[in-house]
Symmetry: C2
Subunit: 404 residues, 2 copies
């Protein structure tokens, strides 16, 4: 009997009517002869409402307490969905994260799954039941409840699919799949039928917004992930490691991130350990650094520029200014109004011409490039945010992504 893990997001279970609709979809899958595990997010805006409630009580709610509080959202949706399934005549049971054996580390608010003990899930499946698991939550070795961070239910679903060696993991959301560009920016953006895990990591912001760790996990355990809408039967996007992808050398999509800020440490004396000294305080403050560019001039001093998310900019500047003084730098300058535009495609690195074609397209469109970085499957340019959306459209058209 095939085993399918399905995940339904908050908008898919936002009210009683939608919960009943989802129950009908799940029932149909079971009737077709599959065993089904369902992972659910909290109803609609529940999580945001709980966070707001906590902030009426405490300026900085304690992370452990916040996680125990937030975990209730998924308990509510999973029990209600189970009641709906039973009302339709299906045998079903809901399991909390701990009951489903989701073990995590102790990083409250952004815990990582350390392992899954699926004995109870297996037992309930063997008893012919649909198993509804509360997403987004787990339990530490010390018996404390954790949450996996925004979008963490995706990771719950993929991790359970991996632990149960499920045939596939289906992520149902309010958009119909992954697109070649953000459909709100590019009207001609097309839905992608299939995509590799690494590409998907780069494209995660296009259409269905998936939890990046769920895609990493899917890649490691080779779990095929199908992303589609819970509101229609239109085919979605399959994320997997297919044969045809090894040969594919074209651009899959244009990623875009408008939340970019840049910091430059000017004329800092160049010596070993410089970058480490500069970036360690940022790492300790959990500030994620993206693009890093170092230009060493002839005079034994160097400029180091890097990007952070715009929300982290004030804290990052504070930390960097302290360090720059110690390192003997001439100064620190920063700017907030930047964006990153990227072309993404597996195998691109091994094929010449993509980078130069990207730069030419941007140049022809009058877009100035501030910084450049590349990875195996991605070429990114940091540009002025005011030109960001135009740049996405230029590249989408230039790489002919509007044609299938």
């Amino acid at each position: 009997m095939p085993l399918i893990v399905q995940k339904y997001g908050g908008s898919s279970v936002a009210d009683a009517e939608r919960i009943i609709n989802v129950a009908k979809r799940i029932g149909a899958v079971q009737k077709s002869g599959a065993a089904v595990v369902v992972v659910v997010s909290a109803m609609g805006d529940t999580t945001d409402e709980l966070i707001e409630l906590a902030h009426t009580i405490s300026h900085e709610p304690h992370a452990r307490e916040m996680d125990l509080l937030l975990s209730t959202g998924e308990l509510v949706s999973s029990t209600l969905l189970t009641m709906a399934l039973r009302e339709l005549g299906h045998e079903a049971i809901s399991l909390s994260g701990p009951q489903a054996g989701i073990r995590t580390d102790t990083s409250f608010g952004r815990a990582r799954i350390s392992r899954i003990e699926p004995a109870r899930v297996r037992r309930e499946l063997d008893a012919g039941r649909i198993v509804v698991v509360a997403g987004f939550q787990g339990i530490t070795a010390e018996d404390d409840i954790t949450t996996l961070g925004r979008g963490g239910s995706d990771t719950t679903a993929v991790a359970i699919a991996a632990a149960l060696q499920a045939d596939r993991c289906e992520i149902y959301t309010d958009v119909e799949g992954i697109y070649t560009a953000d459909p709100r920016i590019v009207s001609g953006a097309r839905k992608i039928d299939e995509v590799g895990y690494e590409e998907m990591l780069e494209l995660a912001s296009l259409g269905a917004k998936m939890h990046p760790r769920s895609i990493e996990l899917g890649g490691v355990y080779r779990v095929p992930i199908y992303v589609a809408s819970s509101f229609s039967d239109t085919p979605g996007t399959l994320i997997h490691t297919g044969n045809q992808m090894e040969d594919r050398i074209k651009v899959t999509g244009i990623a875009y991130n408008a939340n970019v800020a840049k910091i430059t440490v000017q004329s800092v004396p160049d010596r070993p350990g410089l970058a480490a000294a500069l970036f360690e305080p940022l790492a300790e403050a959990s500030i994620s650094v993206d693009t890093i560019v170092q230009n060493t001039g002839g005079d034994k001093s160097t400029d180091i520029s890097f990007t952070v998310s715009r929300t982290d900019l004030p804290a990052a500047v504070r930390l960097v200014e302290g360090m720059a003084q110690q390192l003997g730098a001439a100064g620190v300058v920063s700017s907030a109004g930047l964006a990153a535009v990227s072309i993404v495609g597996s195998g691109m690195q091994n094929t010449p011409g993509y980078a130069s074609r990207m730069f030419r397209l941007l140049a022809n469109g009058g877009v100035n490039i501030d910084m450049i970085t590349t990875s195996e499957i991605r070429i990114s340019c940091i540009i002025d945010e005011s030109q960001g959306r135009d740049a996405v459209r230029l590249l989408h058209e230039g790489f002919q992504l509007d044609r299938s």
Copy 2:
């Protein structure tokens, strides 16, 4: 260091402002040098709202799912109260029922605590923390969440106090203690300073409505229970086994229950096992039978009358009618509009004159008595509900309860 267990009901934590007030009260107790465990109910009407939500999805929500759903209410209030305590600078931690080691049987919706494993609570207390426990909930040996039934947080609090051998258990609610009669019926009702466990069981409906099992448990483990208002500092009522109570032979209070219905099985042939045959089906249907009166006439047949709560009447009549036919009874009659009025006081049974004085007071007031039952500490009369409130006032005045 004294150890105090406090319980705050739903109205005491109904909104952010009240939660902060409760946190201030708790903080003051800790500052006075006591170790504190706090048990909380769900905020305001949360439990009713969750029940209503479940009924929008399912006509008869599955009991196991309902318990997991309802358990979220106390998780929310306990985490928010903990955040409030931390915001005030106190070290505090919230524990779910399972984390606090509340083990129960598998009777979903009305589970009984089988034992408490207080290791985690002790560890957190030893670390100098205020421990906030989610009331009303526990976990079975099979790792399923249960709830203890309406008012179950009282039982959580007393059970934890017993397991930790706490110095006392304080139940904070929205009334100021236990009264000699329902203050809504008798304007001269007085607050009782102290009362025994058995008396309290009979008086549980007067003023502070406590979960009966919490009082039983308090009596078995000799936990002093203090009932008072969380909205004022007026002294409340202490439930305990004091020396002075052994000597006290007066009436403590007038209990009243307006939710009484009576069923009479007429002229049923008298033989051994008759009562068992009649009442077993009711017990199986979880219908609680109160007063039972059997009058055997001279003709080897008997009338059996008994009372049930009014809400159980239709189901009880159905069951009894089937059984009465098998037993060869002449018929079954029932009436719904009855009430029970009782005088309650420890040692009353050993002192003559209370029963006759009660009957005389009712007779002088023109109140007709339908049925009578007595226990060690209670004499109850079943009367017409239309005369019920007058009867309470007559007895309260007649036994001089308005004078201290």
